[in-house]
Amino acid sequence: MTKLKLDDLKKIRDRVHNETMLREGGATAKVTVHMGTCGIASGARQVMEALMEELTLAGRRDVTVTTSGCIGLCSEEPLVTVEILGQEAIRYHFMDKNKMRQVFRRHVLEGEIQTDFALGKGTEHKE
């Protein structure tokens, strides 16, 4: 049976520790995929997978990816929120894997908000 290659994890640990010693500071951007029943049923897992793939391709340690639950905008799913340090959060709606790739490359990496897919600014919502 396949076993986890734990030695590989140690190598990653040592490499990341060396790199972070050179660079000060934490995350500069956070991308959240909303993962309620509504999101999952409209493709949020594929969006998350595309996001994780883009992050590994970019190799950026200052970008974090995360998931959260339903925020009550079920008809707009899949929803993605991009927060860049010092800027207002942007929420994107009707996302799919290709739109996610574009938002990651243009907005997260280059700072260019993709207004065609954006639902609005801010993270305020009914709780």
């Binding site: 049976m1 396949t2 994890l9 990653i12 997978e49 994780m52 992050l55 950026r60 639950g69 709780e127």
Partner: protein, 187 residues
């Protein structure tokens, strides 16, 4: 305009039920998939240490119009999972006590015409483990030929503070999960 993805993969149901556990404040979620070939059964257990629920709530959670959420008034996750199990000659049950977590068990007739395929289980696990790295996940897949276990507590210990959402760690998890699940064979 909007794409609709059918929840016709068991791995999507598993993701959905795990999201329920996260919403219930779980800190450790165990997902166990057991395949017994002689009798041809597939059993999926999702066990969490969240806030749990009383007997009355347990009876109501598979009603599509029951939800604890205030953002929308219908809750479909458990109702759909129950329906998927019962459509495939199986059964569904919830065991829980307030403050003592919950265990959701769905059983399927493996060769049933209407049994949904497991689908992209690696995608579900990666989404959970990377998306909610503040929570620990244990995935266990037991088939007659052997067993695969991935425990994020063990992974985190090896990583010594490096986050699970680190690009290299995501790649490590993706490659290891895909390889292990492929070796165990399709479900």
């Amino acid at each position: 305009m909007q794409q609709v993805v059918d929840v016709d993969e068991l791995s999507l149901h598993i993701l959905d039920i795990a999201e329920n556990a996260l919403a219930a404040g779980a800190k450790v979620i165990e997902i166990v998939l057991t395949l017994s070939r002689p009798v041809g059964r597939l059993i999926i257990d999702i066990i969490d240490d969240g806030r749990g629920m009383d007997a009355e709530t347990q009876n109501r959670v598979t009603d599509p119009f029951y939800t604890t959420r205030t953002t929308r008034r219908v809750g479909l996750g458990l109702a759909l999972f129950k329906q998927a199990a019962e459509a495939a000659g199986g059964s569904f049950r919830i065991q829980s006590n307030p403050g003592r977590g919950a265990r959701v068990t769905a059983e399927f007739e493996l060769g049933h015409w209407d049994r949904a395929p497991l689908g992209n289980m690696a995608g579900t696990l990666l989404t959970l483990m990377v998306g909610r790295s503040d929570v620990d996940f244990i995935y266990r897949q037991v088939v007659p030929e052997g067993e695969f276990v991935l425990d994020t507590r063990m992974v985190k210990e090896e990583l010594g503070g490096v986050p699970l959402a680190d690009p290299d760690v995501i790649l490590f998890l993706k490659e290891n999960l895909s390889a292990a699940l492929a070796e165990l064979g399709p479900i």
